[in-house]
Symmetry: D2
Subunit: 359 residues, 4 copies
């Protein structure tokens, strides 16, 4: 009898259920539903720490391929506090190991993003059998070309830009669509290109507001009535990029701007005299069901994770590289961030069609 | 030879082009494209004031049934300044009449919302032949059950709530989705019911924050992990509703809240201790192409407007009442607002399934 | 203690679950979940005949607002065989009455279309308490302006026409999209107008193929490269409409055409020499989740059905008329068909913009 | 002054306009709109043969990123007749070369699929400067991992399966969705996995009907009420695969089945006694606008084609391999087909979750 745990951690995203379905279906097929038991650890690492879990049945994985969210819940448990006891003095790492043993697991399958992978690697170091799966709308996990959730989020952010396009084309205005992504710009970059944005600002390429303004005024001069900017939450000006994190914190302590888009919008308004409108699709970008692309990716990754379990090959994240599924050692993944390379081919292509990146 | 003008005014919305296509196709069919000339007045009343217009051809109306925005542009020209000369001393009303004459129009077809209808009625009083069409995502035009744009906006706002649903169900949180509507709650009401919101707050029913909090805590007590609130931009508390407009302005002069949702969110957070997330789909609600429902409505209304022109029956808005298209005299429409009746059947039905309206 | 049954019958459609949720939520709110028991009769009247049902819980109705299909299953049980014993000699009507009694129901809520309503009326005549709800993508139920499922199906059929539009515009071709509807043309009519079809053929208006050909050739003469026909499954030529049902059956016994569209396509090909393509979206038109419009309608109708139960007002279908919800006596509904009136305002408007109906 | 031609050939698909926009925007940016002239060759190779083309302007490429179809039209001109004179004795190849010269082109950019690439290679061999772009919903072009149109078609086919899912789950039935693809199964494979199909039949893996029937009966035995089959147009039985093309033609000369799905459906019906429903989304799979994934791919490929033109590097198709854009010599592409490898990782993963491929 095999006993496998499933755990989803961090912000939710669109294809978590599809991925777990892939893992479970593949395991049930391989072992038969009598020879394998699957446990859902509830609400992320919190469930592992406090021993909240429940046994799942084959039917729990039926009909969830297209469902958003996660049927076992999730929570954010920052890695940096994992070694800190909780408010009742509980040693969290020890508690996780104890519960793993109590559940008599052969392996714990963990679906999550960057923070999640640091804790997963910690569990590996502590001797637990783990296999992980790259979940994030941000596409910023090291070691894999693709993460599930990303394409679904691109679709939603692009939808927002599409909607704004028609309204922008009817009025004379500059529109900013603020796309999720505090540290990396993949989502903004792809949604920006897909949505036909005129300006794309991402954390990896600090912007010069004068460059942005010049791009807008060039469009106005060409008779175009509107401009659309796709701005990542983490977009940063050249000036701010030169500051230390602490200096930036001080500088923006009493900022009147709810987010970077409002600051950029204000500056453009002052420099061009044009009306600005800002749209923030926000959490909708993590929501709804997975797109077909993600469903295929998730099914494949889930099945590949099950394959590792069958081979008792633990301690890996299942990733995609150059179109092939590969296991990546967890220690290579943990603590790294896959960022957009400002010199990447996609950036050059985007620039070649006239998209401004503020540089 | 007939000469007809088209003018779209106010905030853009989804089915303006479909409506103009209906008008134009019906006129071209009736008169033949040699016996009728259609002029597009550019960017709303501004185009009429300053004489910006262009002749349109049958092919301009091909392929626009599904396109969002307006091919002739729009702008907001507040009614209350229509009698005020512009910065160069130009008498706007006289200018509009002069341009109407210069264009030798038999009739001007005006697509717009409440403000637009006031000015349209003014033009009627000044002796111009006008026919109007009820455009607004707010569904607040007096004299018609349906306005085009409304259902498309309901779809987008509902999509946002649907997306939030999956993310809310994965975390333990209270989510607020802020829906467009400063004065009326139709859009919030319909999107809220369609999206399965637990609480719906609209301007027509001032809310008591304790009632809202009680509804959320009832859900928590029943073991439900999340609650979703659909809140209209113009939602108002019982206390604020008791103030005069001036008093409210003073009270909120230095408000730290970008919008009402943030205020409500803060209060709920303080009273329940639950995490709050706020999503504002914003201008996306006016954007994108029209849904099939709106396309049918628009085609019908457009054809009916053409019918009035054929009969030289001017001075009416074309509306829907009880499933039938009817002409409504402009003076009956102008200056009135169609609000949600707090005792309407739809409110009772929503309450009967447990939706809280804050009252 | 109240005991209520739910039963969905006939072809499935998009908003069945949303409607049942409306009924159940309203009943649970009114009585408390301890004072009411709701039973799902499985797979339509078959479940009532053979005693297959199960008790449902409040959580069964959670999260189903947006789900297509029916959680309690459905089947087609033709009315005309209801009085005929089954293959084992079982008296079906008696069996239904016996099971109703065995379940100790206060009322059975039946969701279905035309056939379903005939049997529902039979049950009423046999003394059972029934309340019904108008389910059909065909919109052909007598006594109500709106049926749930219809608008969702319009959306899918329109999507199909939209898709065909881009492909038709790229090639030089005539495209036929065959829309569901054997007896009535509501779905074809609305999807056809919404999709910008050039020709719409519905059962209520027998077509003359020469009229259709002339419409296509007029477009070709005007330089338009393609034509799109929205054809109802039950479209019928003037010649065939003159035949008796039996004569038609004989005439088409060995027909090489899978459906009417193929016959029409062949004739157009022969008469115009243009290439024809036929698309049949088929069962997709009943599938997927309900659109926001249907979700609102369903929630309202469901709540209104619960209201009748609270008042013990049995024997009615809950319908919409002129924007208001009204109870309609079952005997007025059963056996009638709400067809498109060839002289209706919507037909005139469609014709006025140049749509050909083959007449 | 540079002079560039654009030509779209073969069946239309979703991202042709987005790709041409990428080419054009990149060229206009690089040369300025005064130093480059772009000509649209109308309706595929037909336009090149008969000299139908028109000069395009920068604004022609505005707003087409999201539009389906092709603004310059397309047609199918089979390669095998290219060396055959037309009905008036015209030498087509010579005519194409003459028109190329007459247009004074520096390069002709050709967007098309497999047949198109054979003719493009012929033009290259005849000394013309050509650059090609891989267009097809079939994803079967040799030399590139990705073709534009494919993902958009996957989305539509998956939507169809999703819709069928809800209706299948409500009734007790076996549903077949017939997906485009006469020679290759990529589209069926991806849509089948994404849609949660239970059986996937593709041309590359001849099926054994008994294997399919066993898969369906296994599901029935497990208490599942329905099964969904995704069947490629070109699915083929083991028996038929053993026949020569000529033998197959003879065998099916008088076949009563409109397509393979009907044959398969009939066999399943006879062997299982279950009700079968067949849905054929057909041409809708090529229609509608491109999905965000395709828009990004198309923009990148278009910009890369422009880059080759800038470098005067002719005779290549622009493809994607392992995430990077690469030029592939036309002679390597022409005449080959990229098929699904029955032993590919994706097939193994699909099988591991229990999907039956009929083998």
């Amino acid at each position: 009898m095999k006993r496998i745990g499933l755990l989803t951690s961090g912000g939710d995203c669109q294809s978590l259920n599809a991925t777990m379905r892939g893992v479970a279906k593949s395991l049930y097929e391989a072992y038969g539903s009598d020879e394998i038991e699957i446990y859902g650890v509830l609400e992320g690492y919190k469930g592992l720490i406090y021993g909240n879990y429940e046994q799942m049945k084959p039917k729990d994985f039926s009909g969830i391929l297209t469902e958003g969210g996660t049927i076992i819940g999730t929570s954010r448990q920052p890695f940096k506090y994992m070694r800190t006891p909780d408010e009742n003095g509980l040693d969290k790492v020890k508690a996780m190991k104890d519960n793993y043993k109590k559940m008599k697991l052969d392996c714990l399958v963990i679906l999550g993003g960057n923070g999640t992978h640091k804790t997963a690697n910690l569990l590996k170091e502590e001797g637990l059998n783990v296999v992980t799966l790259p979940k994030t709308i941000d596409n910023d996990i090291w070691g894999t070309d693709i993460t599930f959730g990303f394409q679904s989020a691109v679709n939603i952010a692009t939808d927002a830009i599409d909607c704004i396009h028609t309204t922008a084309a009817s009025h004379r205005r500059v529109f900013i669509v603020e796309v999720m992504g505090h540290k990396v710009g993949w989502l903004t970059l792809h949604a920006g290109i897909a949505g036909g944005a005129d300006v794309i600002l991402i954390p990896e390429i600090p912007y010069n507001i004068d460059s942005v303004v010049a791009a807008i005024e060039k469009r106005t001069a060409e008779g175009k009535k509107f401009s659309i900017l796709a701005v990542a939450e983490g977009a940063i000006s050249v000036e701010d990029a030169a500051l230390s994190k602490k200096e930036r914190k001080t500088k923006y302590k009493n900022s009147p701007y709810p987010s970077i888009s409002y600051k950029i919008g204000k500056e453009i308004e002052e420099k061009t005299g044009q009306e600005i409108r800002i749209t923030v699709p926000g959490h909708t970008q993590r929501g709804g069901g997975p797109c077909p692309f993600d469903r295929v990716i998730s099914t494949r990754l889930g099945a590949a994770a099950a394959e590792l379990i069958k081979k008792e090959q633990y301690g890996y994240m299942v990733g995609f590289r150059d179109g092939e599924i590969i296991p990546v050692p967890l220690e290579e993944v943990a603590g790294k961030l896959k960022m957009v390379d400002p010199n990447a081919s996609i950036i050059k292509e985007a620039k070649s069609i006239g998209i401004n990146f503020g540089d």
